[in-house]
């Protein structure tokens, strides 16, 4: 370091050694975070947007008719002001005469945080619905095209960014829910939507010289974190056909209001395939053999003993899960009282854990339920440590996170009326995971199940492609249930292609519909416990999995994680522990 100039040059070039490995690691995690963030945003946006805005055109038109009927049913004839002189039969009959329905939806106005809008002013989508054969086509202003042949159970999706057409083949099934006609669609949509409407208004008027009835619907889901939508349909009073639709939607959460207009017309013909809808002939075509994931009533019976054991699990307990990989990963404490739950989550990744920390942890943790619980309470309250708290009160799900620096973030509560949120990781998640009674699940018998007297179920998942990237190739999971241990799921095997979070579809060099024969990961209970009433529970669970090295090469199956579960039944719960009002206040 002879001169100040050289020294400055060296500082300018200062770079961390082996940084490419670190960057690969960080970027891999960030891409997953971004994907997860996009998925959550999509779910949040769904709600009414999905129900009405993204509906097929005939559904939108059908909604107009349904509103009339629903209002008549709900108000039992008490709404008499400007009631239209026609009913659902008239509109159904008129719609059935039409061979094609065409609608152009355009975004007219945006206000608030306009960056959050999926469309810009003047953008939107165009859609067609044919009755015989049943075809649904959507063409978005960003160039994406969706073409569905209901009769042949095929969906074509065109993505202009990648110039790829993805064809999804559904497995024909007697229980498949499709629309056989427009009136069938009306009836099914009616069932879906009749609980959605709060307020309906009718107004007679004139539109482009024709007598019309305007039907306005007010749907407000803002109290549940959803959208407030005001939708009005203009229905021709003579032909009974919907001719225009205005939609105003407000998201308080996103501080965004959009206004859209839909114009309906009824042409003699429309696009017969995705190419006629605008997809270029040179687009690459990828075929996906879709699995049928609709309900299978027979499987409900088959799974009954398992689900009964699941329902009969003890309901008052504290469960501490201690997760270790190559180092300590996290400690999770679940408090469970009936449907009420509280999860306290102590993650150790994402923050530096020094060897001193590890030594101190091991000492403080001890080797029993009480010492772990004590440690959890002290550690969670101490400064400089992460802590996540989830509370489920049987209806709503609440979440609060503490940053290592002590700052709290409180997330919006989520309406969760049916089942416990899986993130709380209760006893059922560890030993009795949900096996849905769907057509993509079936009971099997293989060497392992026969040798160990276990009942086995296989679940098959289809490939998942989005924006020209493969997020998941076809894969399967086998669950092994042990009837001698309260039907506990004692082993789960997974078979899938080893890919990073996503892979460009052009780089996929294997058949994405083919499921590999070789195990990718296996999770099994290696030690069992039993509580006073005789119920079994998993005491130690091991996971062995394959992984990818930094160059993308596959590494063989190896022990990746050990979970040790500490269970305390019938505990005395601290006062107010399930009360969301006791969550910390947000800083800042």
């Amino acid at each position: 370091m002879k001169s100040a100039k050289n020294m400055k040059q060296s500082i300018r070039k200062l770079a961390v050694e082996s940084s490419s490995q670190i960057h690969d690691r960080i970027l891999d995690k960030l891409l997953r975070t971004l994907d997860e963030s996009k998925r959550q945003t999509t779910v949040e946006q769904a709600n009414i947007w999905r129900i009405i805005m993204k509906s097929k055109v005939s559904k939108i038109a059908a909604a107009a008719a349904i509103i009339i009927v629903v209002t008549m049913i709900l108000h039992n004839g008490s709404v008499d002001m400007a009631r239209p002189a026609f009913g659902i039969d008239d509109i159904t009959a008129a719609m059935q005469k039409a061979e094609w329905v065409h609608c152009t939806m355009t975004l007219e106005e945006l206000s608030g945080n306009t960056d959050a809008s999926p469309f810009g002013i003047g953008e939107g989508w165009e859609s067609w619905q044919s009755i015989h054969p049943l075809l649904s086509i959507e063409k978005h202003s960003n160039g994406k095209i969706f073409f569905t042949e209901t009769d042949t159970a095929k969906t074509f999706r065109y993505d202009p960014e990648t110039n790829i057409i993805t064809v999804v083949y559904e497995v024909p099934s007697a229980s498949r829910e499709t629309y056989t006609s427009i009136s069938d669609m009306f009836n099914k949509t009616l069932n879906d939507l009749k609980k959605q409407f709060d307020k309906v208004k009718y107004e007679k008027g004139v539109f482009e010289g024709r007598p019309v009835t305007t039907i306005s619907v007010d749907v407000d889901y803002t109290s549940e974190g959803g959208l407030h939508s005001i939708i009005s349909f203009i229905v021709d009073s003579e032909t009974y056909l919907p001719i225009k639709m205005n939609v105003q939607q407000t998201s308080l959460k996103k501080n965004l209001t959009v206004k859209m207009t839909g114009i309906f017309d009824y042409p003699n013909t429309g696009p017969k395939d995705i190419y006629e809808a605008g997809a270029p002939r040179d687009a690459q075509v990828i075929r996906i053999e879709a699995v049928n994931d609709r309900d299978n009533p027979e499987l409900i019976e088959v799974l009954k003993p398992y689900n009964t054991a699941r329902e009969n699990l003890i309901s008052d307990y504290i469960l501490i899960t201690y997760e270790r990989g190559s180092s300590l990963r996290r400690i999770f404490v679940t408090y469970n009282q009936g449907r009420k739950q509280r999860g306290e989550y102590h993650p150790f990744w994402g923050q530096a854990v020094t060897n001193d920390d590890l030594i101190a942890f091991k000492k403080a943790l001890g080797d029993g339920f009480e010492s772990l619980l004590m440690w959890s309470r002290d550690y969670g309250n101490s400064k400089g440590k992460n802590l996540g708290i989830d509370i489920y009160d049987g209806e709503y799900f609440y979440r609060a996170d503490k940053h290592p620096l002590g700052k709290w973030t409180i997330h919006d509560k989520k309406y969760w009326p049916d089942t416990n949120p899986v993130s709380l990781e209760d006893l059922s998640d560890w030993g009795w995971p949900d096996i849905p009674p769907k057509n993509n699940v079936r009971q099997i018998e293989n060497d392992y199940s026969k040798e160990n007297d276990l009942i086995a179920f296989v679940i098959i998942l289809e490939p998942n492609i989005s924006n020209g990237k493969l997020y998941r190739a076809a894969q399967k999971a086998i669950y092994y249930l042990d009837p001698s241990r309260d039907y506990m799921c004692v082993r789960k095997e997974e078979f899938h292609h080893m890919i990073r979070s996503s892979i460009e579809i052009k780089n996929v060099d294997f058949d994405l519909n083919e499921i590999p024969d070789e195990l990718s990961s296996v999770r099994f209970v290696s030690e069992f416990g039993r509580i006073e009433n005789g119920q079994w529970y998993p005491k130690k669970i091991e996971t062995h999995s394959k992984s990818l090295d930094l160059k993308g090469n596959e590494k063989p199956l190896s022990l990746s994680c050990i979970y040790t579960l500490y269970l305390k039944t019938n505990p005395v719960f601290p006062e107010g522990i399930f009360d969301p009002n006791n969550l910390p206040m947000e800083d800042g």
Partner: protein, 184 residues
């Protein structure tokens, strides 16, 4: 600058490619900055990861006022300061923490910086934290003294003084080291 605005625009729309490009553009600098400030590559990795995670979380509301590079560097500096403060609260000496962090089997833990820069880094570690921050931000990040002054809550002249005195001390430390090497 224009490219950054385009990347931000795409990133706000959820583009993975935009995130990769932003990361590849500034990741090296941010990691070096965090490692130099914290003297611990593990924590530096966490800091860079956390800064980008926050960036992802807030992307829909994010509005770029100045330079993206300065914005990200400011986030790294703020988080690094918070971590050092938290460590002090835990009565954990920084040098001890760094020494413990190095005591692992993974190769990148043995050396934060390359052989050539190791002496420089060792000398940097002996500077006052504020001086280290100014030197890294100005020399490695190209940040203006006006911006650094704003970030540290000091006058421009004080920022310049910290830079000057820091460099001078650095030079002395390095010269001493060279002399010792020559003698031995």
């Amino acid at each position: 600058m224009l490219e950054d605005r385009l990347l931000i625009w795409k990133f706000k729309g959820g583009s993975n490619e935009a995130l990769c490009r932003i990361y590849r553009k500034y990741g090296d600098y941010l990691l070096a900055l965090a490692a130099a400030l914290l003297q611990d590559v593990n924590t530096a990795e966490d800091v860079v990861h956390d800064v980008f995670c926050k960036f992802i979380e807030s992307r829909e509301k994010f509005k770029l006022a100045g330079s993206l590079k300065s914005f990200l560097a400011t986030c790294v500096v703020n988080l690094a300061r918070d971590i050092l403060r938290a460590r002090k609260l835990q009565n954990c000496d920084l040098d001890e923490a760094a020494a413990t962090a190095l005591d692992t089997n993974e190769p990148e833990h043995y050396a934060i910086f390359g052989e050539e820069a190791r002496n420089l880094n060792h000398a940097m570690a002996q500077l006052a934290y504020e001086q280290r921050e100014v030197i890294m931000l100005h020399l490695r990040g190209g940040m203006k003294f006006r911006e650094i002054a704003g970030l540290q809550g000091i006058s421009i002249n004080t920022a310049k003084s910290r830079y000057r005195y820091g460099l001078k001390k650095l030079q002395t430390l390095l010269s001493d080291k060279e002399k010792k090497n020559e003698i031995s």
